[in-house]
Symmetry: C2
Subunit: 387 residues, 2 copies
């Protein structure tokens, strides 16, 4: 149930709507990550007030904790978390394969050990779909094999297996919508092959997976550009794991409708706050006496109520309220950004909006970004527990 | 500016009002602790919605972080923290003397080292008053010497010095209201001497300090009973550091009007939640499948929106949202308790309310409470940084 309202004449950008049983989602849209239920530090009410319409939950984490029995007993993920809007669940392929305690993958499925207690579990494509449906998600994602590197053989094998699993997911799928997930690493040939296989199946949308694994931003965007072209234009395209302001703007221009990422909330908890000129670290001593909001043009709860000096103080003395106020600010920044993108597509000004935004917004230095990302990935097993 | 509206005929309990430049405070009242500005995990808006009218901030902590310059630059503590209601600042005598890096106390004042960076500072009674006035607090508390033990010589010396300091505090005091603080440990003779000295001075209210230092609950209450009698009945009486539900109910019956304590918020962050029957630990596996609120009779935000099973899940996977939801619940429990106490005094039913409450509420086992308290005190230097 995806309607395209308007396409940008100068780029692949489009504005649309996804209709779900829990409400309408205007696109382009960013989904905040509520891996284990809540978006970290926030109540569902705050997420709604920020202007975010759909949340991404993670089937892998919810399966491990609190487990299906608990959520079933509560009548599903919506009632359990008190979030009344649409929910998309990620199958957790990325998490299974990026956690190091993976035991074995074969055609049947993947056996892995819980990073929480070391217990052994099997996810098959069928189980993944059934589990996500039982959670009561509005949109579910097929189980994929997400290779941990760009080694050609590994990527090729992952494309094959992901295609076979996609078929099995579609066969067992009964309820709500299901998105297929494309693999293929940095190879355009494999991306195309993956897309062709997925297009044979009745998916309601398509996710682009297997990126943000330590490649450069240019590599990532160049793959997204081609990958999006391989996918049908009448279905929503979801770029998984992407969430920096600059990547969202560029991704939209390449035809992406849905983004999700823990980046805005994770960097917020480190004190890194979005402004129209780029990220600012609130712990920097230049904010000690700043009695203005961190971003004077921002309409978020944090900027409307608190000075940068107060936020600086909270981070300096490690008050957890600071984590929340920073999270609210960054998510509102992203929500406003996607609202502005959408409005500009609808009124035919996206190209100039994009140009203007990218000329004033200074992204994090690529070398720093890459080294942070790679360090984060290398510690993924432990880090994932916090993300 | 304290008006007594009604006195209980069967006990020393009374209902009244404290008038401040930032609004009226109905008593008996509990002040949540916002040592470094915010009540831990909460926005000012949440504190107000919980029904708490006055907040306690700590001059000692605010002096160390962010320091006077920052707060002055923001136009005072109210604008800095965005809390628009009344604020009482504690001088921080308790913190100075319970932190182990204390250097030296003499008649002039106390020299201490910051537990944050080891830097050396001097607090004199005059400085303490001026600093609290510059913060813009509605009510300030005189600087006291709070002995770290009940050793008779130490307590006697502290009473003498606290009396001398009280005089100097009154002399320099210019703005708002100032409360004197009584010492005397567990000695009734010294408590009386302390009270007599304070009563000679034009204090607007009186705080009872030097308790909650590892004595038993019976010792504490028996001192409070006599100490309250030594203080003038027409002024508010503040029992510092007391905040368990059972101690509040008993304290009111002994003539206490104001309570403050980090206990409700600290135990909340450990998962210990108040119910009408006593504390419950949300991490207990009995809550795993509990699809009722933690306290079905509670009207707090947490109980109105979330099941005990969801809170249990948040604590199990260490989501910081859990700390906030638990804090909201415990503070609302205390706010409702003081509201009920006040109503019962006004309609002449306090004695039966007290009896009923104490017969259904099972306090934490005294032996466990004492050992926890003593362990906490012995680690005070490190712990204080988190409280």
């Amino acid at each position: 149930m995806f309607e395209i309202e308007k396409c940008c004449p100068q780029s692949k950008a489009r504005a649309g709507r996804i209709l779900t049983p829990h409400g309408e989602v205007p696109t382009p849209v960013f989904l905040p990550v509520g891996s284990k239920g809540p978006v970290k530090t926030l109540t569902p009410e705050e997420v709604r007030e920020i202007g975010l319409s759909m949340v991404l939950a993670n089937a892998y984490w919810l399966y491990l904790q609190p487990g299906m029995e608990v959520i079933q007993n509560m009548g599903g993920i919506h009632r359990f978390t008190s979030w009344e809007g649409p929910i998309l669940t990620d199958s957790g392929g990325y998490q299974i394969f990026s956690l190091s305690r993976l035991s074995r993958v074969n055609d049947e499925g993947v056996v892995f050990r819980s990073p929480i207690d070391g217990s052994k579990h099997l996810f098959t494509p069928e189980f993944s779909v059934e589990f996500q449906e039982e959670l009561g998600a509005d949109i579910i994602v097929a189980l994929d094999e997400c290779p941990a590197s760009f080694a050609p053989d590994e990527v090729r094998r992952a494309v094959d297996r992901t295609s076979q699993w996609a078929k099995r997911c579609c066969e067992i799928h009964k309820r709500g919508e299901i998105y297929g997930i494309m693999q293929g690493g940095l190879s355009l040939e494999l991306r195309e092959m993956s897309a062709l296989k997925l297009r044979e199946l009745p998916f309601d949308g398509y996710a682009i997976g297997g990126l943000c694994l330590g490649e450069t931003r240019e590599e990532m965007l160049s793959v997204v550009e081609r990958a999006a072209n391989f996918l049908p234009s009448e279905r929503p395209r979801h770029l998984m794991g992407v969430g920096s302001p600059e990547d969202i703007v560029k991704g939209v221009s390449l035809g992406i409708d849905i983004f999700d990422s823990a980046l805005p909330t994770r960097v917020a908890r480190n004190g890194s706050l979005f402004t129209m000129k780029g990220r600012r670290n609130i712990k920097n001593s230049c904010f000690r006496f700043c009695n203005q909001p961190i971003d004077p043009g921002c309409d978020c709860y944090t900027c409307c109520h608190f000075s940068a000096a107060f936020l600086h103080h909270l981070f300096k003395c490690r008050e957890t309220l600071g984590l929340r106020l920073a999270t609210i600010h960054n998510l509102r920044f992203i929500a406003r950004l996607t609202e502005k993108i959408r409005t500009s597509i609808l009124d035919d000004s996206f190209s100039s909006f994009k140009e203007e935004f990218l000329s004033s917004y200074h992204p994090t230095d690529e070398a720093i970004r890459l080294s942070q990302r790679r360090r984060w990935l290398s510690q993924a097993g432990a880090k994932m527990l916090n993300d």
